[in-house]
Subunit: 182 residues, 2 copies
DNA sequence: ACCTGAACACCGTTCAAGT
DNA sequence: ACCTGAACACCGTTCAAGT
Protein backbone atom coordinates (compact mmCIF):
# COMPACT_ATOMS: atom_id res chain seq x y z
CA UNK A 1 0.00 0.00 0.00
CA UNK A 2 1.29 3.42 -0.98
CA UNK A 3 2.20 5.74 1.88
CA UNK A 4 -0.48 8.30 1.05
CA UNK A 5 -3.05 5.51 0.82
CA UNK A 6 -1.99 4.20 4.20
CA UNK A 7 -2.24 7.67 5.67
CA UNK A 8 -5.73 8.14 4.26
CA UNK A 9 -6.79 4.73 5.51
CA UNK A 10 -5.59 5.50 9.02
CA UNK A 11 -7.14 8.95 9.09
CA UNK A 12 -10.50 7.61 7.96
CA UNK A 13 -10.54 4.98 10.71
CA UNK A 14 -9.48 7.52 13.30
CA UNK A 15 -12.12 10.03 12.24
CA UNK A 16 -14.78 7.33 11.98
CA UNK A 17 -14.19 6.35 15.60
CA UNK A 18 -14.71 9.97 16.55
CA UNK A 19 -17.80 10.58 14.41
CA UNK A 20 -19.45 7.29 15.35
CA UNK A 21 -18.90 8.00 19.02
CA UNK A 22 -20.53 11.40 18.59
CA UNK A 23 -23.38 10.52 16.26
CA UNK A 24 -23.81 6.77 16.45
CA UNK A 25 -23.30 4.01 13.96
CA UNK A 26 -25.70 5.59 11.45
CA UNK A 27 -23.61 8.72 10.99
CA UNK A 28 -23.11 10.04 7.49
CA UNK A 29 -20.09 8.56 5.72
CA UNK A 30 -19.85 11.79 3.77
CA UNK A 31 -19.22 13.53 7.05
CA UNK A 32 -16.46 11.05 7.86
CA UNK A 33 -14.84 11.60 4.46
CA UNK A 34 -15.06 15.39 4.82
CA UNK A 35 -13.50 15.43 8.27
CA UNK A 36 -10.77 13.06 7.14
CA UNK A 37 -10.05 15.40 4.24
CA UNK A 38 -10.65 12.82 1.51
CA UNK A 39 -13.18 12.46 -1.27
CA UNK A 40 -16.10 10.10 -0.75
CA UNK A 41 -14.66 7.81 -3.41
CA UNK A 42 -11.54 7.24 -1.34
CA UNK A 43 -13.59 6.10 1.61
CA UNK A 44 -15.48 3.66 -0.59
CA UNK A 45 -12.28 2.38 -2.14
CA UNK A 46 -10.97 1.35 1.27
CA UNK A 47 -14.30 0.38 2.82
CA UNK A 48 -16.86 -0.78 0.25
CA UNK A 49 -19.43 -1.46 2.95
CA UNK A 50 -20.16 0.39 6.15
CA UNK A 51 -19.41 -2.74 8.12
CA UNK A 52 -15.92 -2.89 6.67
CA UNK A 53 -15.23 0.42 8.35
CA UNK A 54 -16.67 -0.89 11.61
CA UNK A 55 -14.46 -3.92 11.27
CA UNK A 56 -11.33 -1.77 10.96
CA UNK A 57 -12.39 0.36 13.91
CA UNK A 58 -12.71 -2.71 16.05
CA UNK A 59 -9.23 -4.09 15.58
CA UNK A 60 -7.77 -2.69 18.78
CA UNK A 61 -11.06 -3.33 20.52
CA UNK A 62 -10.54 -7.10 20.40
CA UNK A 63 -7.65 -6.87 22.81
CA UNK A 64 -9.87 -5.11 25.27
CA UNK A 65 -12.39 -7.94 25.08
CA UNK A 66 -9.78 -10.47 26.07
CA UNK A 67 -8.52 -8.23 28.85
CA UNK A 68 -12.04 -7.80 30.22
CA UNK A 69 -12.59 -11.54 30.16
CA UNK A 70 -9.38 -12.16 32.07
CA UNK A 71 -10.38 -9.58 34.61
CA UNK A 72 -13.84 -11.07 35.06
CA UNK A 73 -12.37 -14.56 35.43
CA UNK A 74 -10.19 -13.23 38.25
CA UNK A 75 -13.28 -12.17 40.21
CA UNK A 76 -13.28 -13.53 43.73
CA UNK A 77 -16.40 -15.01 45.30
CA UNK A 78 -19.32 -17.14 44.14
CA UNK A 79 -19.92 -18.03 40.47
CA UNK A 80 -22.82 -15.62 40.27
CA UNK A 81 -20.52 -12.66 40.93
CA UNK A 82 -18.23 -13.84 38.17
CA UNK A 83 -21.11 -14.11 35.72
CA UNK A 84 -22.57 -10.71 36.62
CA UNK A 85 -19.15 -9.09 36.28
CA UNK A 86 -18.83 -10.54 32.79
CA UNK A 87 -22.33 -9.53 31.76
CA UNK A 88 -21.64 -5.93 32.80
CA UNK A 89 -18.32 -5.93 30.98
CA UNK A 90 -19.98 -7.42 27.92
CA UNK A 91 -22.60 -4.69 27.74
CA UNK A 92 -19.94 -1.99 28.11
CA UNK A 93 -17.77 -3.58 25.43
CA UNK A 94 -20.46 -3.72 22.76
CA UNK A 95 -21.92 -0.31 23.63
CA UNK A 96 -19.03 1.72 22.28
CA UNK A 97 -21.30 3.77 20.04
CA UNK A 98 -25.01 4.05 19.35
CA UNK A 99 -26.21 1.22 17.15
CA UNK A 100 -23.21 -0.92 18.03
CA UNK A 101 -25.06 -3.43 20.21
CA UNK A 102 -27.64 -4.06 17.48
CA UNK A 103 -24.99 -4.44 14.81
CA UNK A 104 -22.83 -6.81 16.82
CA UNK A 105 -25.66 -8.92 18.18
CA UNK A 106 -27.19 -9.33 14.72
CA UNK A 107 -23.84 -10.45 13.38
CA UNK A 108 -23.72 -13.30 15.94
CA UNK A 109 -25.83 -15.36 13.56
CA UNK A 110 -24.23 -14.20 10.32
CA UNK A 111 -20.92 -15.94 9.70
CA UNK A 112 -20.59 -14.01 6.43
CA UNK A 113 -20.61 -10.65 8.18
CA UNK A 114 -17.49 -8.49 7.90
CA UNK A 115 -17.36 -8.39 11.68
CA UNK A 116 -17.79 -12.14 12.14
CA UNK A 117 -14.28 -12.47 13.58
CA UNK A 118 -15.15 -9.85 16.19
CA UNK A 119 -18.16 -11.89 17.19
CA UNK A 120 -16.02 -14.96 17.56
CA UNK A 121 -13.79 -13.03 19.95
CA UNK A 122 -16.86 -12.19 22.01
CA UNK A 123 -18.35 -15.66 22.05
CA UNK A 124 -14.89 -17.10 22.71
CA UNK A 125 -14.42 -14.90 25.76
CA UNK A 126 -17.91 -15.78 26.95
CA UNK A 127 -17.09 -19.42 26.49
CA UNK A 128 -14.23 -19.15 28.97
CA UNK A 129 -16.70 -17.83 31.52
CA UNK A 130 -19.12 -20.62 30.65
CA UNK A 131 -16.46 -23.26 31.16
CA UNK A 132 -15.59 -21.91 34.56
CA UNK A 133 -19.23 -21.86 35.61
CA UNK A 134 -19.84 -25.34 34.23
CA UNK A 135 -16.81 -26.65 36.13
CA UNK A 136 -18.34 -25.25 39.32
CA UNK A 137 -21.62 -27.00 38.45
CA UNK A 138 -23.36 -23.65 38.61
CA UNK A 139 -24.73 -23.46 35.09
CA UNK A 140 -28.27 -24.40 34.20
CA UNK A 141 -28.27 -27.14 31.54
CA UNK A 142 -28.71 -25.97 27.96
CA UNK A 143 -27.18 -22.54 28.54
CA UNK A 144 -24.22 -22.01 26.25
CA UNK A 145 -22.05 -19.05 25.23
CA UNK A 146 -24.12 -18.06 22.20
CA UNK A 147 -27.32 -18.14 24.25
CA UNK A 148 -25.75 -15.83 26.79
CA UNK A 149 -24.46 -13.49 24.08
CA UNK A 150 -27.90 -13.25 22.51
CA UNK A 151 -29.60 -12.55 25.81
CA UNK A 152 -27.17 -9.96 27.08
CA UNK A 153 -26.96 -8.51 23.58
CA UNK A 154 -30.71 -7.98 23.69
CA UNK A 155 -30.44 -6.08 26.94
CA UNK A 156 -27.61 -3.99 25.51
CA UNK A 157 -29.68 -3.12 22.44
CA UNK A 158 -32.60 -2.03 24.58
CA UNK A 159 -30.31 -0.01 26.84
CA UNK A 160 -28.63 1.57 23.83
CA UNK A 161 -31.79 2.53 22.00
CA UNK A 162 -33.62 3.70 25.11
CA UNK A 163 -30.62 5.48 26.66
CA UNK A 164 -31.14 3.55 29.88
CA UNK A 165 -28.85 4.35 32.82
CA UNK A 166 -26.77 1.69 34.53
CA UNK A 167 -29.16 1.72 37.46
CA UNK A 168 -31.84 0.35 35.14
CA UNK A 169 -29.64 -2.01 33.16
CA UNK A 170 -27.90 -3.75 36.04
CA UNK A 171 -31.09 -5.24 37.53
CA UNK A 172 -31.93 -6.66 34.10
CA UNK A 173 -28.58 -8.41 34.07
CA UNK A 174 -29.24 -9.79 37.54
CA UNK A 175 -32.49 -11.36 36.37
CA UNK A 176 -30.71 -12.92 33.45
CA UNK A 177 -27.92 -14.23 35.61
CA UNK A 178 -30.48 -15.95 37.81
CA UNK A 179 -31.96 -17.53 34.71
CA UNK A 180 -28.61 -18.84 33.57
CA UNK A 181 -27.54 -20.36 36.87
CA UNK A 182 -29.05 -23.31 38.64
CA UNK B 1 -63.20 15.32 8.42
CA UNK B 2 -64.27 15.47 4.80
CA UNK B 3 -65.23 12.16 3.21
CA UNK B 4 -62.36 12.19 0.70
CA UNK B 5 -59.93 12.99 3.50
CA UNK B 6 -61.28 10.09 5.53
CA UNK B 7 -60.95 7.79 2.54
CA UNK B 8 -57.36 8.84 1.96
CA UNK B 9 -56.56 8.42 5.65
CA UNK B 10 -57.94 4.90 5.68
CA UNK B 11 -56.22 3.90 2.46
CA UNK B 12 -52.87 5.16 3.73
CA UNK B 13 -53.16 3.14 6.93
CA UNK B 14 -54.25 0.04 5.04
CA UNK B 15 -51.43 0.33 2.53
CA UNK B 16 -48.89 1.10 5.26
CA UNK B 17 -49.78 -2.12 7.06
CA UNK B 18 -49.11 -3.98 3.82
CA UNK B 19 -45.87 -2.20 2.94
CA UNK B 20 -44.46 -2.37 6.46
CA UNK B 21 -45.21 -6.09 6.64
CA UNK B 22 -43.36 -6.59 3.35
CA UNK B 23 -40.43 -4.27 3.84
CA UNK B 24 -40.22 -3.55 7.54
CA UNK B 25 -40.69 -0.42 9.55
CA UNK B 26 -38.05 1.47 7.58
CA UNK B 27 -39.94 1.24 4.30
CA UNK B 28 -40.15 4.34 2.14
CA UNK B 29 -43.11 6.57 2.93
CA UNK B 30 -43.06 7.66 -0.70
CA UNK B 31 -43.80 4.08 -1.61
CA UNK B 32 -46.74 4.07 0.78
CA UNK B 33 -48.10 7.29 -0.70
CA UNK B 34 -47.70 6.01 -4.26
CA UNK B 35 -49.49 2.74 -3.55
CA UNK B 36 -52.26 4.57 -1.73
CA UNK B 37 -52.66 6.82 -4.75
CA UNK B 38 -52.01 10.07 -2.89
CA UNK B 39 -49.32 12.72 -3.06
CA UNK B 40 -46.59 12.66 -0.43
CA UNK B 41 -47.97 15.89 1.03
CA UNK B 42 -51.24 14.18 1.87
CA UNK B 43 -49.45 11.51 3.83
CA UNK B 44 -47.55 14.16 5.79
CA UNK B 45 -50.71 16.13 6.44
CA UNK B 46 -52.30 13.16 8.16
CA UNK B 47 -49.14 11.73 9.71
CA UNK B 48 -46.47 14.36 10.39
CA UNK B 49 -44.11 11.80 11.89
CA UNK B 50 -43.49 8.20 10.92
CA UNK B 51 -44.53 7.11 14.39
CA UNK B 52 -47.93 8.73 13.94
CA UNK B 53 -48.57 6.32 11.10
CA UNK B 54 -47.42 3.41 13.26
CA UNK B 55 -49.75 4.61 15.96
CA UNK B 56 -52.73 4.53 13.60
CA UNK B 57 -51.77 1.10 12.32
CA UNK B 58 -51.75 -0.23 15.85
CA UNK B 59 -55.26 0.76 16.82
CA UNK B 60 -56.85 -2.61 16.12
CA UNK B 61 -53.73 -4.30 17.39
CA UNK B 62 -54.43 -3.23 20.98
CA UNK B 63 -57.48 -5.47 21.14
CA UNK B 64 -55.32 -8.40 20.20
CA UNK B 65 -52.95 -7.65 23.08
CA UNK B 66 -55.77 -7.84 25.57
CA UNK B 67 -57.08 -11.03 23.99
CA UNK B 68 -53.65 -12.64 24.14
CA UNK B 69 -53.28 -11.68 27.80
CA UNK B 70 -56.65 -13.21 28.63
CA UNK B 71 -55.69 -16.37 26.82
CA UNK B 72 -52.36 -16.61 28.62
CA UNK B 73 -54.03 -16.03 31.98
CA UNK B 74 -56.32 -18.97 31.23
CA UNK B 75 -53.32 -21.30 30.90
CA UNK B 76 -53.62 -24.39 33.06
CA UNK B 77 -50.69 -25.68 35.09
CA UNK B 78 -47.83 -24.19 37.09
CA UNK B 79 -47.03 -20.45 37.07
CA UNK B 80 -43.99 -21.00 34.89
CA UNK B 81 -46.19 -22.27 32.04
CA UNK B 82 -48.34 -19.18 32.35
CA UNK B 83 -45.33 -16.90 32.20
CA UNK B 84 -43.75 -18.69 29.24
CA UNK B 85 -47.06 -18.57 27.37
CA UNK B 86 -47.23 -14.83 27.90
CA UNK B 87 -43.61 -14.26 26.90
CA UNK B 88 -44.17 -16.12 23.64
CA UNK B 89 -47.35 -14.19 22.96
CA UNK B 90 -45.57 -10.94 23.77
CA UNK B 91 -42.80 -11.58 21.27
CA UNK B 92 -45.33 -12.47 18.58
CA UNK B 93 -47.39 -9.35 19.30
CA UNK B 94 -44.55 -6.89 18.97
CA UNK B 95 -42.97 -8.65 15.99
CA UNK B 96 -45.63 -7.68 13.49
CA UNK B 97 -43.11 -6.14 11.13
CA UNK B 98 -39.36 -5.74 10.96
CA UNK B 99 -38.15 -2.99 13.24
CA UNK B 100 -41.33 -3.14 15.30
CA UNK B 101 -39.77 -4.74 18.40
CA UNK B 102 -37.04 -2.07 18.53
CA UNK B 103 -39.54 0.74 18.06
CA UNK B 104 -41.95 -0.49 20.69
CA UNK B 105 -39.31 -1.44 23.24
CA UNK B 106 -37.57 1.91 22.91
CA UNK B 107 -40.89 3.68 23.44
CA UNK B 108 -41.33 1.92 26.80
CA UNK B 109 -39.17 4.60 28.34
CA UNK B 110 -40.46 7.53 26.33
CA UNK B 111 -43.81 8.75 27.62
CA UNK B 112 -43.80 11.44 24.94
CA UNK B 113 -43.74 8.91 22.12
CA UNK B 114 -46.74 8.82 19.76
CA UNK B 115 -47.13 5.14 20.57
CA UNK B 116 -46.91 5.61 24.34
CA UNK B 117 -50.51 4.49 24.79
CA UNK B 118 -49.71 1.27 22.93
CA UNK B 119 -46.87 0.64 25.35
CA UNK B 120 -49.19 1.17 28.27
CA UNK B 121 -51.47 -1.50 26.84
CA UNK B 122 -48.52 -3.87 26.74
CA UNK B 123 -47.22 -3.13 30.20
CA UNK B 124 -50.78 -3.22 31.53
CA UNK B 125 -51.34 -6.69 30.10
CA UNK B 126 -48.01 -7.83 31.47
CA UNK B 127 -48.98 -6.44 34.84
CA UNK B 128 -51.98 -8.75 34.97
CA UNK B 129 -49.63 -11.66 34.48
CA UNK B 130 -47.31 -10.27 37.14
CA UNK B 131 -50.13 -9.97 39.65
CA UNK B 132 -51.16 -13.55 39.08
CA UNK B 133 -47.60 -14.77 39.56
CA UNK B 134 -47.09 -12.62 42.63
CA UNK B 135 -50.30 -13.97 44.16
CA UNK B 136 -48.92 -17.47 43.69
CA UNK B 137 -45.69 -16.37 45.38
CA UNK B 138 -43.78 -17.45 42.30
CA UNK B 139 -42.16 -14.16 41.36
CA UNK B 140 -38.61 -13.25 42.29
CA UNK B 141 -38.57 -10.00 44.30
CA UNK B 142 -37.84 -6.85 42.32
CA UNK B 143 -39.22 -8.19 39.03
CA UNK B 144 -42.00 -5.94 37.77
CA UNK B 145 -43.93 -5.56 34.51
CA UNK B 146 -41.60 -2.99 32.96
CA UNK B 147 -38.56 -5.13 33.75
CA UNK B 148 -40.19 -8.06 32.02
CA UNK B 149 -41.16 -5.95 29.01
CA UNK B 150 -37.62 -4.69 28.63
CA UNK B 151 -36.11 -8.15 28.88
CA UNK B 152 -38.48 -9.88 26.51
CA UNK B 153 -38.37 -6.84 24.23
CA UNK B 154 -34.62 -7.29 24.03
CA UNK B 155 -35.02 -10.89 22.96
CA UNK B 156 -37.62 -9.86 20.38
CA UNK B 157 -35.29 -7.22 18.96
CA UNK B 158 -32.47 -9.72 18.61
CA UNK B 159 -34.81 -12.27 17.05
CA UNK B 160 -36.19 -9.66 14.68
CA UNK B 161 -32.85 -8.31 13.53
CA UNK B 162 -31.19 -11.69 13.26
CA UNK B 163 -34.18 -13.48 11.72
CA UNK B 164 -33.99 -16.14 14.41
CA UNK B 165 -36.43 -19.07 14.18
CA UNK B 166 -38.76 -19.96 17.04
CA UNK B 167 -36.58 -22.93 17.88
CA UNK B 168 -33.83 -20.48 18.82
CA UNK B 169 -36.02 -17.87 20.48
CA UNK B 170 -38.04 -20.14 22.75
CA UNK B 171 -35.03 -21.38 24.76
CA UNK B 172 -34.03 -17.75 25.36
CA UNK B 173 -37.47 -17.11 26.82
CA UNK B 174 -37.12 -20.15 29.04
CA UNK B 175 -33.88 -18.81 30.50
CA UNK B 176 -35.53 -15.50 31.17
CA UNK B 177 -38.54 -17.12 32.77
CA UNK B 178 -36.22 -18.96 35.15
CA UNK B 179 -34.61 -15.66 36.02
CA UNK B 180 -37.94 -14.04 36.77
CA UNK B 181 -39.32 -16.80 38.97
CA UNK B 182 -38.07 -17.83 42.37
C1' DA C 1 -2.17 2.77 -8.04
C1' DC C 2 -4.65 6.01 -5.94
C1' DC C 3 -7.41 10.23 -5.39
C1' DT C 4 -10.93 13.71 -6.50
C1' DG C 5 -15.29 15.55 -6.98
C1' DA C 6 -19.06 15.88 -10.14
C1' DA C 7 -23.04 13.26 -11.02
C1' DC C 8 -26.80 10.20 -10.22
C1' DA C 9 -30.35 7.93 -7.47
C1' DC C 10 -33.25 7.78 -3.70
C1' DC C 11 -35.89 9.47 -0.04
C1' DG C 12 -37.85 12.67 3.43
C1' DT C 13 -40.05 17.01 3.78
C1' DT C 14 -42.05 21.45 2.47
C1' DC C 15 -45.03 24.57 0.16
C1' DA C 16 -47.17 27.24 -3.60
C1' DA C 17 -50.74 26.39 -6.56
C1' DG C 18 -54.83 24.26 -7.37
C1' DT C 19 -59.90 22.20 -6.37
C1' DA D 1 -60.41 22.24 3.92
C1' DC D 2 -57.88 19.28 1.48
C1' DC D 3 -54.91 17.59 -2.26
C1' DT D 4 -51.18 17.62 -5.68
C1' DG D 5 -46.69 17.43 -7.25
C1' DA D 6 -42.72 20.21 -8.09
C1' DA D 7 -38.82 21.50 -5.51
C1' DC D 8 -35.28 21.28 -2.09
C1' DA D 9 -32.08 18.97 1.03
C1' DC D 10 -29.46 15.19 2.29
C1' DC D 11 -26.96 11.11 1.74
C1' DG D 12 -25.09 6.84 -0.39
C1' DT D 13 -22.69 5.31 -4.34
C1' DT D 14 -20.38 5.38 -8.80
C1' DC D 15 -17.08 6.67 -12.16
C1' DA D 16 -14.59 9.54 -15.53
C1' DA D 17 -10.88 12.43 -15.20
C1' DG D 18 -6.85 13.51 -13.07
C1' DT D 19 -1.93 12.78 -10.51
Amino acid sequence: MRVDAQRNYDRIVEVAREVFREQGYDASLDEVAKRAGVGPGTLYRHFPKRDDLLDAMMRSWMDRVDEAAEKALATEGPPRDLLVAWLRAYVALISLHKGGPAKITSALDDSGSPIASKCRTLTGATDKVVERLAAAGALRPGVDAVTICRLVGGVAVVADQGDLPESTVFPLLEVMADGMLR
